[in-house]
Structure formats: structure tokens, C-alpha cells
Symmetry: C2
Subunit: 343 residues, 2 copies
Amino acid sequence: MAQAAGVTAITVSRFLREPAVVASDTAERIRAALSRTGYVPNKQAGLLASGAGNIVAALLPNLANSIFAETAQGLSDGLQAAGYELLIAATGYSLEREEHQLRALLGWQPAAVVVTGRRHSPGALQLLAHAKAAGTPVIEIWDHHPPERGAGRTSFTQIGFNHDEVGRAMAEHLLRAGHRRLAYVDSGVAEDYRAHERGMAFTAAVRAAGASATVTVAPSGDAFDAGRHVLGVLMQAGPPAITAAAFANDHLACGALLEAQARGLAVPQRLALLGFGDFAIARQLDPALSSVQLPRLAIGTETARSLLDALRRRKGAAPVSLPWTLVARGSTAPSGASVATAP
Amino acid sequence: MAQAAGVTAITVSRFLREPAVVASDTAERIRAALSRTGYVPNKQAGLLASGAGNIVAALLPNLANSIFAETAQGLSDGLQAAGYELLIAATGYSLEREEHQLRALLGWQPAAVVVTGRRHSPGALQLLAHAKAAGTPVIEIWDHHPPERGAGRTSFTQIGFNHDEVGRAMAEHLLRAGHRRLAYVDSGVAEDYRAHERGMAFTAAVRAAGASATVTVAPSGDAFDAGRHVLGVLMQAGPPAITAAAFANDHLACGALLEAQARGLAVPQRLALLGFGDFAIARQLDPALSSVQLPRLAIGTETARSLLDALRRRKGAAPVSLPWTLVARGSTAPSGASVATAP
DNA sequence: TTGAAAGCGCTAACAG
DNA sequence: CTGTTAGCGCTTTCAA
């Protein structure tokens, strides 16, 4: 390529990075040779030579789910603008896969690492600690939790929200409407500890208020179908019957809502339903599903911002607690709509 | 790292790639040093030295949409098992972004390239042609179409289905139910040429049958809301009134279905609705939405298979035409459900 | 079974 | 403004 333009490699390299530095006629010849040969610079060689990796590695449970897709979008937008490339891998909510993918991503010598949540396998934890010790910013997203007592492990920057608070808010919302027999419907995903934490906080808050709370685990498979199935289970409970249920996600809750309609069961009079995630479908049903709106995009953009700042100033990234909102709609409130926000 | 184990770098390299070749006591020392130092080999250097890239680059319109997420999953699974890494970028249905992302991905010297659809910018086409000429397999997915007449451009392997056929099948399904005033509702995404092709084939088939067809473009923004809005537009058409509508995707169709219910408009008696994509929500509504089931996952797995075969045998990848299915449900058929399949 | 030498394609640093 | 030299961390090839 360089000889095609009648210059040396370094001149082409410079033209590609800082066109202004190259003389205009030289630039013209390079441009011509570039399009003629279809040359694309080898990134492996470039990154190796410059040492400075411009890659950010991110590990998310999945991308299919709109929840994490928006976070990826926010990350990608923020990083791309600053000239960083985003390398994403999905873990499928498995700590084992997370460790495996993390090892693969670290091979690209990323300038920073983003992982989801604060629970990791021992091996992954070791890799992350090594990375942090080597000066690579490590950020845990989608969680914001005080350090566990007696934990000797390295702690990482957290950007997200506190799931205990959400669980409590969900309980309070239903208790305030007068419910005394409540249920939490967990997803069938064993390693989604954040859903479990919300459930634990939910039941604790309910019981602290002197009401009763049960936990049901949804079957795996299609989430709508799982929600439909769970509705049947909930209706069999009692007496006294359960009058309100909180779900690990909106798809489960929507399934239950649709099944309730199919059975002619009045929502919220006979059974109030509360989702989590505020997916697009939630607002569309009738009654509309009450849910918890999450900072999906903000987690991505804030992480990018914090990361870039840390990279620029060569110090640790700053943790961020982001706000969520409980949006009350028809499925929990017979009339009107109200809103509760993160403390 | 090498000196930590008391050997040279090449021995560590060998241990990492072919453990059996290294003496067992040496292996043991290396293993120990490995976990002690948290060493992760630098992929940039490795790939540069070996020349052999084990990366497959893929460009998809987006990942948030469940349609393409499943394809990515299928690709990823198939490739990972064979030791390849998948590098994915999203184009947001923009040819300009596609070219930009393609250029970025090619910098990783991928062993193969996967792009979505057969329409690309001139620049992207040139890059792809160069890659193909250099022996890199290039596959176009989500389409399967005979070469355009008079096209001088390089042609690439296609793995997907024919959108004209789908458009025709959608028309025939509604015509067979006796509809004579039909509409096609296109998505607001200008560069989703596949949706436009289905629409053109749909209207052509309708008109060939002596019935009337109009095309409406949905507004951008939330797809459910767009579908709701479009229903209002459809109802204002005529007289004679439109009695059936086919949509560019299920979200639009679901929005219209929900809005019809809200207005007390009987589906399918007063207006039949037919979606595309068979999203999870389609089966859940009442009446359930008729839709076209797509080989989302199969496109990914077949592409991986074809790619690996091409890489192994050092020749071009084989094109594959994959089957789709029109699933008739309550939104187009008052009673029972039937099925029409790709020819 | 292990090592030494050379080089992958690019860029940092320094000259001119 | 452009070129020369050296070297990024690994793997290939050949030798011991």
C-alpha cells in the first residue's frame, strides 16, 4: 500500500491518524492509492505497536433482552464518540460463562472492563482484581450495594441502583393499597441474584408490616407462558387468597395479566399485579401494567462517562447510584396513576 | 510470566496451545506461575504473529430487536464451538453506518464477514468485493434473491429467505379469506428495504387478483404506539372500508390489534390483521395475531455451518434458502388455525 | 522437549 | 513535512 502511493509506511500511518500533518499533494496520492487497493489497516499490529489499547470490554447477561440492549447502546454511543471500541460478550446469566468470556476479552488488552453485577466466580474475581491492580478501570453495572460484611475481596466501582430498595418500594406500593396477602414471583433464572435480592427485600418488608408473603418461582421457557402458568398457581393459594403479586420482570407479569383476563379475573380488584422493567408492552395492555422504570440507557451512558473520565485522569472510576421510578398504572391502582421514586 | 516459571516465552506459548507437548513438570511450573501472575496472553500479538485470524465479523441492523438477537445467538454458538470469535456491530438500518462499521471490523482481519441483506453503499460493496477477492468468505444473511438484472457488482453468498415470496403469501392469505380492500403498513425505517420489498410484492399480488391495495407508512417512535396510530388512519380510509391489513412487523400489528380492541372494533370480522416476525407476544393476545414465523435462529446456525465449511475447504460458502411459515391465528381467521409454508 | 533467531504490520521517537 | 530505526508480544522455523 505504501509503495502504491510512493511513500513509506509511516507516512500512510500518519495520514490515517492525522491527515492535517501530511502535505496536501502527498495526501492526495495516498487517498488515491487507498481507494484503489481497498487497504484496511491491521488493528492487531496497530494496537500492538502503540501499546495503548482503545478497547473497552463489556460483559452483559444477554443482548436479546431489551433491558441490556439499551445499556449496550448507551455504552457504545458514549465510547465511540471518544474513539474507543466496545467489545461485548454475553454470559447468559452464568458465572461460569462469565469467567470464560472475561478471560477471552482480557486477551484483547482492554483499556477498561465492564461487568454486570457484583457476584462473580472466584476465578473471575481474581482476573478482575489483577486487572484493577494493573491500573485498568473495572466497573460493575446494574447494581449499587454497600460492601458485604467481612468480605476480603477487592471492591470495584458500581454504577446502577440498589435492588433491595426496589424490592421494598414494590412491597410498600402494594401494602399502601391495603393488600395483606402478597406474593413475589421470581424468574426461573437461578443466577439472576438481583431478582432474588428484590424478592428477599420484598418479602422482608411485607412481613415487617405484619402481612404475609410467599415466593413462587416461574417455570423456565417463554416468559409470557410462564406468567400465565404462575397465575394459576397464585389463584390456588389460600384461603385467604393472595390479592397482589410482584414479579421479577414485566414479561412474567404481562403473562399473568393476560391469563387473568382470559379467566375473567378482575385486575386489580381481585388481584393486583406489579411488574419490573417497564417494557414497552406494559403501557399497552388494559389495564396497563404498573412497573418499575429502570435507568437502562443511563447505566450505559454514565458508565461510558465515568470510564472515560477515569481513563483520562488515570485514576479509579467514580461509582454512581442511578434513579428508578415505580410507575403506578391500572394493574395496581383502580383509578388514576401515581408515581414513587428512588429515595 | 515466562521467567516466573523459569522457562522462555515460547515454552509458555506452546503450553497454552498444545499442553501435551510440554514435559509434565515444566507444565506444572507454568500452571503455577500462570495462576500466580494472572497472565492473559495478548491476542493482538498472537494474531499478528500467527497471521491466522480466528475472528468472524458480523453486521446486523440491531441487537435489541429479538429478530436479530436470535440470529446472533445462533452464529455465536456455532462459531464458538469451532474456536472462532464473533465480533458483532450494529448498523441501525443505515447503509452509511454499515460502511463505517464494516471498515472498523475489517481492521481486525476477520477470517470471514457476515452482513445483513444485499443492499450496501458503494464503498461497502467495494470493501466486500476486495475481501472476497482476497479469499475471505462473505455472506449476506436475511435475504435470498436472484441477481438483479444488469448488475455488474460482485455477488455474495446469501443465506435467508425471499421477501417477495413472503409478501405474496401474505396477500394470498388475506385474499383467500375474501378480502378485496387491503392495506400494507410499512415500518418507518426508510432503509429496511426488505420490508418495502414485501410491501411491493404484497400490493402487486393483491392488484393482480383484481383487489385494491394501499400502502401506509407507520410513524417512527414506539412501534406499539405507531401501530395504534395507524389503525386510526386505516379506519378513515374508504368507503369502501379497508377490511384487512398486513404489517411490516408484529409490534406494529399488535399495536393496531390493541387499539382495535380499545375502540370496540371486531377483529377479524371488521378488520383482519396480519403481522410479520411471530414475536412472543403475538400468540398471547386475544384474538392471537396471525404472523409469519421466521428462521431467526436457523439463519445464524446455517451461516456458521456454511462459513466453517468454506473456511475448512478454502472455497466459497454455499448459499442456503431457509423456510418460513405463515401461521394463521384468530386475527385473520375467525375459527380454527391453518398454516401456509414457503414454496 | 526446549531454545534462538527472525519477523508479523504497525507506530513512537528521533533525525533530517 | 517525511524518513529511519527500533520494538510492541507473540509464533514460525530451524536447531540443539
